[in-house]
């Protein structure tokens, strides 16, 4: 397999595909992961806040049964394997996007699969906050909403950014999987050429690009998290 992979015919063909199909695939993967993560944060952030603030001794307690139901829903969604979830939400995807296949359509299952994960990440970020700081804000007459918006979220920005980075790399992994059943991007190329047509070099190239994309997300995320963190003493 290795020798065949680098035969001159195979290399020339792979380069051709690289030139013709990869730019679009790369863009699709990028666009899908960023969009899906953005929507997942949109849903997951408030949910994560609710999980922490809504607790019995949180700043905005909500009825225990509701909190319990939220937790169960999150756990359920998180325990369904992504590919199966993708098939299960086909009807919803069709309803929202009009079709269940294609690049944009794959955003829907990606969001459904990742927002509960994001909620958990947000939850863990918010739990890192020193409860004394929240108490101090309460002692100054802050409303629950002010505590969420002016204390909990701003104080955990660096941690939230690190966690969103974890989320986007996870979404990238899912999006590559979505290539198997109708999603676009690098995953689709890897599956189409590597799995169906035995063009392993093309698959390898797709995987390398996926790795580079993960590196890019991780580097940007780590930098942003460090840059926003004012707890680090060495900065000017």
């Amino acid at each position: 397999m290795i020798e065949k992979m680098f035969e001159s015919g195979a290399v020339a063909e792979a380069l051709e595909i690289l030139k013709n199909e990869f730019p679009l695939a790369l863009w699709e993967t990028f666009y899908v992961t960023v969009a899906a993560t953005a929507f997942a944060v949109l849903l997951g952030l408030p949910l994560g806040v609710l999980l922490v603030a809504g607790e019995k001794d949180g700043v905005l307690p909500i009825p225990k049964p509701i909190l319990h139901i939220l937790n169960v829903i999150i756990n359920l969604l998180r325990s369904v394997p992504f590919l199966i979830l993708m098939i299960m939400v086909f009807p919803l995807t069709r309803l929202i996007v009009g079709t269940a296949v294609g690049t944009t359509a794959s955003i829907v299952p990606l969001v459904i699969a990742s927002f509960p994960f994001v909620a958990r990440l947000v939850e863990s970020s918010l739990r890192e906050i020193d409860p004394n700081i929240i108490e101090a804000a309460q002692s100054m007459g802050a409303t629950p909403m002010q505590i969420v918006l002016k204390v909990m979220l701003p104080e955990s920005v660096p941690s939230l950014l690190s966690n969103i980075t974890i989320a986007i790399t996870t979404v990238l992994g899912y999006s590559a999987m979505s290539g198997i059943i109708g999603g676009g991007g690098l995953g689709k190329i890897a599956v189409n050429y590597g799995y169906y047509r035995y063009k392993y070099l093309v698959m390898l190239l797709a995987v390398i690009l996926l790795i580079l994309l993960v590196q890019l997300y991780q580097t940007v995320g780590t930098r942003l998290a460090a840059k926003t963190d004012k707890r680090l003493k060495h900065k000017k």
């Binding site: 020193d130 108490e135 101090a136 002692s139 100054m140 920005v157 004012k230 707890r231």
Partner: protein, 259 residues
């Protein structure tokens, strides 16, 4: 005037009832610097946190200028809390905001315009001697400086009462002294009422006029500082004043004699 009437606080824990405060009655006059001292676990933190209702007393009342805090609606209580601010042992500054923005924080909460808040905060940072640290973040400051920022923040809403829960316990003696001087200066200038919670007798001696000795959730003794410390009547006060005579005694077995 602050009046505590028969304050009782019980916690229900897995291990059973904890009587953190038992029937505490105290009166603190306007402009006074009042000390509350006690050993660890005596209930000091619980008591201050009841004064601004961070902790709801199980029984009894807290009256500030005759207003019963326990009877206020949540919104009224939040408004009243701008009148009773607090500083803490661990400073509790917002770590992602610079000093100026930290001092602006309570003003923002009250809806003051950003520009006005910044002007006022700048003035307050000058008062606490940290005008040059406006743009610095708390992590870049020493403990003493952080506590000064916390004091500036606590004064921002022009409160009538300042509660200090072990505010100097994390600081060295020199810094403790400078923070206490600052608090006294502010007390003289503004007439703010100050309640100092501590387990350190020298803190009380340095700055307070009257003191209450808290022991196991009850007030063991209260009076003028000099009076109480020169002539302690309760065992709890004697334990604080003469700690050595109450230290666990060496016995033959754990002394040095067996070698």
């Amino acid at each position: 005037m602050i009046e505590l009437r028969n304050l009782t606080k019980n916690y229900t824990t897995d291990a059973g009832e904890v009587n953190a405060l038992r029937n505490i009655s105290l009166t603190v006059g306007d402009g006074e610097i009042f000390g509350i001292i006690g050993m660890s676990g005596a209930g000091k933190s619980t008591l201050v946190r009841c004064i601004n209702m961070l902790e709801r007393p199980t029984e009894g009342q807290v009256l500030i200028d005759g207003k019963d805090l326990g009877a206020l609606s949540p919104a009224q209580l939040r408004a009243e809390r701008r009148n009773i601010t607090m500083i803490f042992q661990s400073f509790n500054l917002l770590m992602q905001r610079n000093c100026l923005k930290n001092v602006c924080f309570p003003l923002e909460l009250s809806g003051m315009k950003k520009k006005d808040a910044a002007a006022k905060a700048t003035e307050l940072l000058r008062t606490v001697g940290l005008a040059d640290k406006a743009k610095a973040y708390p992590a870049q400051l020493s403990g003493g400086q952080q506590q000064r920022v916390a004091i500036a923040r606590a004064l921002a809403t022009e409160p009538k009462v300042l509660l200090c829960d072990e505010a100097t316990s994390a600081l060295d003696p020199q810094t403790t002294h400078s923070i206490l001087s600052l608090i006294r200066d502010i007390n003289r200038k503004t007439g703010i009422t100050v309640i100092i919670i501590t387990h350190q007798i020298n803190v009380i001696e340095e700055i307070c006029s009257r003191v209450a000795v808290l022991d196991n959730g009850s007030v063991a003794e209260t009076g003028e500082v000099r009076e109480v410390f020169s002539n302690p009547r309760s065992e709890a006060a004697r334990r604080l004043v003469y700690p050595a005579s109450f230290a666990p005694e060496y016995t033959e077995t754990d002394g040095g004699g067996s070698a």
